[in-house]
């Protein structure tokens, strides 16, 4: 795959921009470098990201930090069982003064949407959001409205407390380019979190005061702009993808389809996502070409949620990550 290479000056500028975002987010969110990288990959490739992790791992803070750093509009929706599609996309309401219907746009009209605990909403609501993610436009009444660009959904789901939740089906999971599983912080990082939290102090508000949170540390000064982000997105498209890399990608995706322990292998969308995400990762790591290490680093986040273990593999106690590693490390045929 050939690509027109960006000038070295522009490439260096993009590298600096991405490095700046990572540094700024890291000043607020401790020890989540990989997650920040995944959010940036999703931003640069217009893919959507599903974060899976227990509560309290700074998912909201992370997304808020990224949106403020890049100067993007940010909205957050807490998904609950009684949420309606109109609560997300908006609705037509009757204006009492003019006696005419006017459109009330929902919180989906933003650049960066955090869909918190997406698996708690009813399937109808999930479908409404996932349809908007796919088509990047919503219909309210008889009118269709395009969503702002860039538009990125970062959804979260809790791997525990599955009672009263609606698990996303495979077809809908496939819409998420990446599904990243958040881990607990290392003891050193957790200690740093506690140290920073202890030094937050109090914020005066009129005659009263409230204890400062990490959100207060974010500040209002953006270090980037939507224009710079767009230029970075254009640069991602210039990252070179070799024929050999495409061969590796097709081989790995095909191995999932013929693996005896897998009932469902990866879709072609997985291959597309692997290449797109690898290009963004290469740019973040200062390369203008992709390498197999990008493939290996992203395979788990791109492929795991697109694979389903067979009944016998489950009975044997196999896990999807184990099977994926078998596939990645399998000797060539």
């Amino acid at each position: 795959m050939t690509a027109v290479q960006p000038s070295s000056a522009r490439f260096a500028e993009t590298r600096e921009f991405l490095h700046e975002i990572r540094s700024r987010v890291a000043s607020v969110v401790v020890g989540q470098d990989v997650v920040v990288e995944r959010v940036l990959i999703a931003l640069l490739t217009s893919g959507h990201l599903l974060l899976q992790g227990v509560p309290g791992l700074a998912k909201t803070l992370l997304v808020a930090a990224v949106s403020k750093t890049v100067d993007l509009a940010f909205a957050r929706i807490q998904f609950t069982i009684d949420l309606l599609p109109s609560d997300i996309v908006g609705s037509e309401i009757l204006d009492q003064k003019t006696h005419e219907f006017r459109t009330h746009k929902g919180p989906i009209f933003t650049n960066l949407l955090l869909a918190d605990e997406i698996n708690r909403a009813a399937p109808k609501v999930q479908s409404a959001l996932l349809e908007a993610m796919q088509e990047r436009r919503v219909t309210i009444g008889n009118q269709s409205y395009p969503l702002p660009a860039p538009f990125l959904v970062i959804a979260t789901q809790n791997p525990v407390e599955q009672a009263g939740t609606f698990e996303l089906p495979e077809a809908q999971l496939d819409r998420f380019m990446l599904l990243h599983r958040l881990e607990y912080l290392t003891p050193a990082d957790e200690k740093e979190v506690l140290r920073r939290n202890a030094a937050l102090g109090v914020r005066r508000d009129g005659k009263g005061a409230v204890a400062r949170t990490e959100f207060d540390v974010l500040g209002e000064q953006a270090s980037g702009s939507a224009d710079r982000l767009v230029r970075a997105m254009e640069d991602v498209q210039q990252v070179h993808v070799s024929e050999a890399f495409l061969e590796h990608t097709v081989e790995i995706v095909n191995r999932t389809r013929r693996h005896p322990k897998l009932e469902l292998g990866c879709s072609p969308r997985a291959g597309i996502s692997l290449v797109k995400a690898s290009r963004a990762r290469a740019l973040i790591h200062g390369r203008d070409y992709v390498l197999p290490e990008d493939l290996f680093a992203l395979a788990e986040d791109v492929m795991l949620h697109r694979m389903r273990l067979g009944y016998e593999a489950l009975a044997e106690g196999c896990t999807a990550p184990q099977v994926l590693q078998e596939i990645l490390t399998e000797s060539p045929r």
């Binding site: 890399f245 495409l246 081989e251 203008d288 197999p292 060539p332």
Partner: protein
Amino acid sequence: MKPGRGGALLLLASLALAAAPQSRDERSASVGMRSRIEQVVLAGSELVAAPTDHKAPVVLRVLAVWPHGEHHRYDLEWTGLVPGRHDLMQYLARKDGSPTTGLAPLPVTVTSVLPHGAMDPGEAKPVAPPRSLGYSALQIGVAVAWAIGLVLILFVGRRWRRPRVAAPVPPSLADRMRPLVEAVAGGEADAAAKAELERLLVAFWRARLGLRDRTAAAAVAAIRADAEAGALLRQVEAWLHQPTPPAALDLAALLQPYRTVAAADFEARSDVR
């Protein structure tokens, strides 16, 4: 009697006769069918059904008894079980225990739809199968046969199933690597062959450096960090993946050590790590 009054009495008597229930006198029935003989007057003291056993050809019940002067009037119900003529008097006895002598017979006929002798209820007797030995001997015999069968399956059967022809051995990684190296060094390899060679080189160093238990990403990172393997991998990556491969790269010299690679080279080396 006045003619008008006599006519009225005659009419009443006719109506009374018409309204009176007709007594049943069923003297013949087929096997198993219930039949009744009603309002029959039998002389002497009261009669009851005589006790019988299950082999009795007729079952008799006394449904009702009324005094009839010095005698009694009965409603009887009978069921014939054996075809032929039977005397119901044989199945009656005096309630006071006195003999029933002097009573006229009360014959009934039981008919059958089956030909005579077709069935003989109660005659079937279980016939034991011929057995030369006792049940215990039979159990012992079965146990011995089972044990012999098990021994045959375990020892003789396994020997039979041993493959007589050895399964074809798949080519080793080294066997697959050598032609690819030759093709790449000769400039004849396509993209698929180059990609396979890269995967084989990673597999080779993964084995040599003892990284089999690491994830793919961690293994590649460790290979890149190794002095010998890292230098090779970076050069191969530059040749395969960079938009413009380095001009100074001598691919033939780079791949020279892998032209003579053997299967043992894919084993972990003790002097590494």
